[in-house]
C-alpha cells in the first residue's frame, strides 16, 4: 500500500503547480463594467465590520435605489478577519473596518489611502430588566455581576480593556467574545448581567437592553478604502463617495454613529 503512493506523490505535486499559479494572476483582470459619470452598472462587494451591519444594509439599499442596475453585495465579519482576507486577495471592492489598526493591516491591499467616515463610542449595556442592579461601569467590580467584553484582538476588545483600566476595574470578565455582536447577544439573551458594546449596537437593540454612558468617552474611528482587487472601481468609488456624503452621514448618525 505504501509503494505506489510514494512514487506518485511528487508527480502530482508537480501537476498541481499550474493550478496554484493561475490563482494569483487575477489582480488586473479588469472586466469592470462601471464606466464614468452617471452610467454606473454592475455589482460590487463591500466587506464591512460586524458593527456596521444594519447601517451598511441601509446605505446599500439607498445607493441601489439611486443607481439603476447597480448591485451592492455586503459581507460582514470582524474587522481583523476581513483585513486578512483582503490581503490574501479575497474578491471585494471596498473594505470598511471598525478601527484604524485593522485597516493598517490591510495596507498592501488598498488602492488608495483610507478615509475616516464615522466614529463610534463605547457604552455599558445590561439586559432590559437589569437583574444585577448595575448602575454604571463601577458596578463591574461587584462579584455578583457577570459581565462580558470583546476579545482583545477585536477593536471593541482593545477599547474595552482601556475602559476597564480607566475605571480601575480589576475583576475579570466571565468571557471574551469574538466580536461586538457576540458580546451584545450575551446581554440580550440574559446570559450576562452587563457588557461593553458600541453605542450603535445598544441603539439597535432598542428595549432589549439598558444603556449606561461611560464617565470618560472612548471612541473608535471607522476607515473605508478602495481595494486593489476591485473589478469595478467606478461603482466602488461612487459608493465610497456616497458613504462620505451628507446623505450617508444622515444614515450613520441615525444609527448612533458620530461623524468625523
Amino acid at each position: 500500500m505504501n509503494r505506489p503512493l510514494r512514487t506518485l506523490t511528487p508527480a502530482l505535486l508537480v501537476a498541481l503547480l499550474p493550478l496554484a499559479a493561475c490563482g494569483s494572476d487575477d489582480g488586473d483582470g479588469g472586466n469592470g463594467s462601471g464606466g464614468t459619470g452617471d452610467a454606473l452598472s454592475g455589482s460590487i462587494t463591500v466587506s464591512a465590520a460586524a458593527s456596521l451591519t444594519g447601517t451598511f444594509e441601509e446605505l446599500a439599499a439607498q445607493f441601489e435605489a439611486e443607481h439603476d442596475g447597480v448591485e451592492v453585495e455586503l459581507v460582514f465579519d470582524s474587522s481583523g478577519t476581513l483585513a486578512d482576507q483582503a490581503v490574501e486577495g479575497a474578491p471585494g471592492d471596498i473594505l470598511a473596518t471598525a478601527d484604524t489598526a485593522s485597516m493598517e493591516r490591510a495596507a498592501e491591499a488598498q488602492a488608495e489611502d483610507p478615509e475616516i467616515f464615522a466614529t463610534n463610542e463605547l457604552v455599558l449595556v445590561t439586559p432590559a430588566e437589569n437583574p444585577a442592579g448595575v448602575t454604571g461601569i463601577e458596578s463591574l467590580d461587584d462579584d455578583a455581576v457577570t459581565y462580558v467584553i470583546c476579545v482583545e484582538t477585536a477593536p471593541c476588545g482593545g477599547l474595552s480593556a482601556e475602559a476597564l483600566e480607566d475605571a480601575g476595574i480589576d475583576r475579570e470578565p466571565a468571557s471574551l467574545e469574538r466580536d461586538v455582536k457576540a458580546t451584545l447577544s450575551r446581554v440580550v439573551e440574559d446570559e450576562a448581567d452587563a457588557g461593553l458594546v458600541y453605542r450603535t449596537d445598544a441603539l439597535a437593540s432598542g428595549d432589549d437592553v439598558q444603556t449606561f454612558d461611560l464617565p470618560e468617552q472612548l471612541t473608535t474611528e471607522y476607515p473605508i478604502a478602495l481595494l486593489q482587487q476591485s473589478r469595478n472601481t467606478g461603482v466602488a468609488q461612487a459608493f465610497i463617495d456616497f458613504v462620505l456624503s451628507t446623505a450617508g452621514a444622515d444614515v450613520l448618525t441615525a444609527a448612533g454613529f458620530g461623524t468625523p
Binding site: 503512493l5 498541481l16 476579545v151 475579570e172 466571565a174 469574538r178 440574559d190
Partner: protein
Amino acid sequence: MTVRSPLGRAPALLWVPALVAVLFLVVPLVALVLATPWSTFLDDLRTPEVRSALWLSMETSLTTVVLCVLVGTPLAWVLARVTFRGRGLVRALVTVPLVLPPVVAGVALLAALGRSGIVGEPLREATGLTLPYTTAAVVLAHTFVALPFYVISVEGALRSAGEAYDEVAAVLGATRWHTFRRVTLPLALPGVVAGGVLAWARSLGEFGATVTFAGNYPGTTQTMPSRIYAVYLAEPEAARTLAMILLLASVGVLLLLRNRWLTPGAAA
C-alpha cells in the same frame, strides 16, 4: 498501478480523481507544516496563555471521555441488547448531535442550561449555580458533541460481537450484570477503546459549541481551538504554531487507531 491484477489495469477515470482527492486532503496539511514558524515553536508553546489552553484542553477532553464511558457504555448496551418500543427513535435522537452544526449545539445547550434556560433557570433559583462561563460548561459542550461518536462505536462493537457468548454465560448461571462485566464488555473492548479515542479527538477539536455555550476566557473556558481562533484574529503567524500542536495530536490519534482504520477490512 504497480500491482498487476487479474482484473486488468485500474482505469484512469477512477485513479485520477482518487489522487486529486488525496492531494486535496494532504496539501493543506503539508502547507501548514511548511508555514509553521518552527524557529519560535518552543517559545510560543511556553507562553502562559498557550500552556493554560493546552492544560484546559487536556483536562476537559479526558473528563469528556470518562463521562462518555460512564453513560455512553450503558446506553450502547441498551441499544444493542434490549428490545423495546421506540428503540429506533431513541437511536435516531441520540445520533442527531453527530450531524448537528456545533454552533447549533451551543445555542441548544444555552436554551436548556443557560442561566435563563429551561433547566438552567430552575437550577439557578434552587442552588444559585449557573453553568455558562465555567469549565463544567466546556465539558458538557464537549460531551454533547462527543457522546454520539462513542455510543455508535460501542454499539457497533457490541452488535458485531454477537449475543451467543452472552447466552452461554446465562446458561451457565451468570446474572445479566455479571455477563455484561465479564463477557460482553471484554469482547467489545476494542470498540470501547476506539470509541473513547474518537470521543477524545472530537472533544479536543470542539470549538463552536464551546464558545457559544461556555464562552471564552483564558484559564476557565479557553481551550486550544478557542485560543487558536482568538490568536488568528490578531496574529495569523502564531496561530499556525497552535494549529500545528493540534495537528500533531490528531496524528497521534490516528496512530492509536491504526490497526482499526489503516488496515483494510478491520473497521467494524
